[in-house]
């Protein structure tokens, strides 16, 4: 772990943040899909994912999320995935634009609707799928399931199923960085519904008061389960709410992956440069029900259809085609690649072994070996 440097007593201002964090390599994009998948799926002659231009990477990643989740829905029907499953279908531009706008060394704290974020932070799809199957090879060893994907090696701190529950954690992670003189952004992702919780209020006030490098990333999909924004907040201009804490606020069309990328990049930049926390509202929409249990009775079918017109994947690919940087052939190749990755991940999850029941009590406490008593 990073050793703490003793901060100068009395120093309250954010240390000037010129140095990149120790582990900030040039952004390695997302985890390349496992070899098998790449072999299976790539169109002959297509560039390695990491070498593609940003646009194509954004598109490919939206496709990866979409194809993965479509399969999740099927697997849920088949009883392979259980518990709560919250799909992100329709919102892919948000995670894709936002996660690409962060550096590899940044922290991310997410919600129960976090499959896409986890994937794009570099958690292998195999490990995500195995987690949803409840297998020991899952990224949380099958303990967490869909709502609790974790990969601390990639500074992905879950997967939190208490609405607003991740926000104080993000403040603390940012505080730890400040106290250790490390320069990184901590992004927390949450829905607009979370903004009514006391946890939001207390967290953003702490971050603003202490000028901590937290990026508050609100995915405003207009509903919190069945509750429309206007029946949840007296002030529906979320940026105005955030601004009332004297926090810089940004808004982007959450159906437009480029807009998300640009806006989050700007916001993150400002945070990274020591400008204190920032707030970004991404205006988006979920095409599916809240969870697999939701009969989705509270929205107009017409409203859903209207939003679907603006689907982030087809609108972005249409744009790229119009700009001449995407052909239908390439699109199909990317899509096939995503499908192959998903198929491989499912195969991996299927064959992965269950954790022995004898290990039930493992990891309630940290084993003494992992302890650092030496430090004292």
């Amino acid at each position: 772990m990073t050793r703490a440097r003793k901060p100068a007593a009395g120093a309250l201002a954010t240390p000037p943040c010129t140095s990149r964090p120790a582990d900030a390599k040039p952004f390695p994009l997302t985890q390349p899909p496992p070899k098998r998948a790449r072999k299976a799926g790539r169109a002959p002659g297509a560039a390695e994912p990491a070498e593609r231009p940003l646009e194509l990477r954004l598109l490919a990643d939206m496709l990866r999320i979409r194809r993965m989740e479509e399969k999740c829905a099927e697997l849920y029907g088949a009883g392979k995935i259980r518990g709560f499953l919250h799909l992100y279908i329709g919102e892919e531009a948000c995670a894709t634009g936002a996660m690409h706008a962060l550096a590899a060394g940044d922290n991310v704290v997410a919600t129960y609707r976090e499959h896409g974020h986890a994937l794009l932070r570099g958690v292998a799809m195999d490990a995500i799928m195995a987690e949803m199957f409840g297998k020991a090879a899952g990224c949380s060893r099958g303990r967490g399931g869909s709502m609790h994907l974790f990969d601390v090696s990639r500074r992905f701190y879950g997967g939190n199923a208490i609405v607003g529950g991740g926000l104080p954690l993000a403040v603390g992670l940012a505080l730890a960085d400040r106290l250790q003189g490390v320069c990184r952004v901590t992004a927390c992702v949450f829905g607009e519904g979370a903004m009514a919780e006391g946890a939001f209020h207390e967290s953003i006030n702490l971050a603003a008061l202490w000028q901590l490098p937290v990026l508050f990333c609100c995915e405003n999909n207009l509903y919190a389960m069945g509750t429309a924004l206007a029946r949840s907040e007296s002030q529906t201009d979320l940026c105005a709410k955030a601004a009332s804490y004297r926090v810089a606020s940004f808004r982007a069309d959450g159906m437009d992956v480029r807009a998300v990328f640009d806006t989050v990049s700007r916001a993150a930049q400002q945070v990274r440069e020591g400008g204190g926390p920032a707030f970004v509202e991404l205006q988006t929409y979920r095409f599916r029900a809240h969870s697999m249990f939701d009969p989705d009775l509270y929205r107009d079918k017409a409203e859903i259809e209207q939003w679907k017109q603006r689907g982030p994947i087809h609108s972005f690919s249409a744009q790229l085609k119009a700009e001449g940087s995407l052909t239908e052939e390439l699109f199909l190749a990317l899509d096939a690649e995503a499908e192959a990755e998903v198929a491989a991940a499912i195969a991996f999850a299927e064959q992965a072994p269950w954790e022995p029941v004898a290990d039930l009590l493992k990891d309630v406490h940290t084993p003494a070996a992992a302890d650092e008593r030496g430090a004292r």
Binding site: A161, T227, Y298, V364
Partner: protein
Amino acid sequence: MRISYREAMRQALREALANDARVFLMGEDVGRYGGSYAVSKGLLEEFGPERIRDTPLSELGFVGAGVGAALGGMRPIVEVMTVNFSLLALDQVVNSASLLRHMSGGQCSVPMVLRMATGAGRQLAAQHSHSLENWYAHIPGIRVLAPATVADARGMLAPALADPDPVVIFEHAQLYNLEDDLLDDWRCDIARAAVRRPGTRASVFAYGGCLPKALQAAEELAASGIDVEVVDLRVLRPLDIDTIAESVRRTHRAVVVDEGWRSGSLAAEVIARIAETCFYDLDAPPARVCSEEVPIPYAKHLEDAALPQPAKIVAAVKELLNV
């Protein structure tokens, strides 16, 4: 008439809303969504948005608002989606609802009913699987109920609303689909535990989601010739120690089943009461079947292993009986 536990709760709600203009239902997604467990489905259309009141995600705020509304002459039924989220509202339960009467020298009452789903068993993992009934049952000034049958789901709400003080009702999420014939005698005495199956060799105490498991264990034990009594604690505060002690005095052996984590479980209190009051009646140490002390895991085989199961109850009884 065969109905589900969910439908029984809904009938009870509908009756309460129809009979008393002071009653209203408030909570996250109780209205347009239809209730996260579909309990309140249809009530919005019937009673309108003032009385079937959707709230923002603000557990502390709307539970406290329920307390205030009760002070102000209403009879609020406040629904917190699950006990897990009620942690955010505990301050208003402990520091307002439960003590306003006493702290004011008896000037006011808080006739509020707080309903919430509880329990594990549906692979919802560590943040959605708590059983904190014991915490609530520790607080003076409130009554805590756990309907485990369709009849009690139908019958507990009316007396809970008639109680002038706060009542907390825990509905185990795995019970909502339970179906049973609703007979005419569903009216419920919310002061008394209920013997669900009389027996002689040992007393098995259970409540909520564990009652069906205890009954199943009793069946299995009966098949091997061991006749046990199953008592549904049902009222978790104040515990009906008379019924508990009476049973132990007959059977001389006690097993307490509780989905809460073992240490500090409600089962601990039941065992302590039995040890205090029936010590000389016991032929063997009292035993507990509780959840393992681990955050509830997602994977089904691990979750099953973490929770009380009929087989564990059978084993505990057999160990007590030395068979």
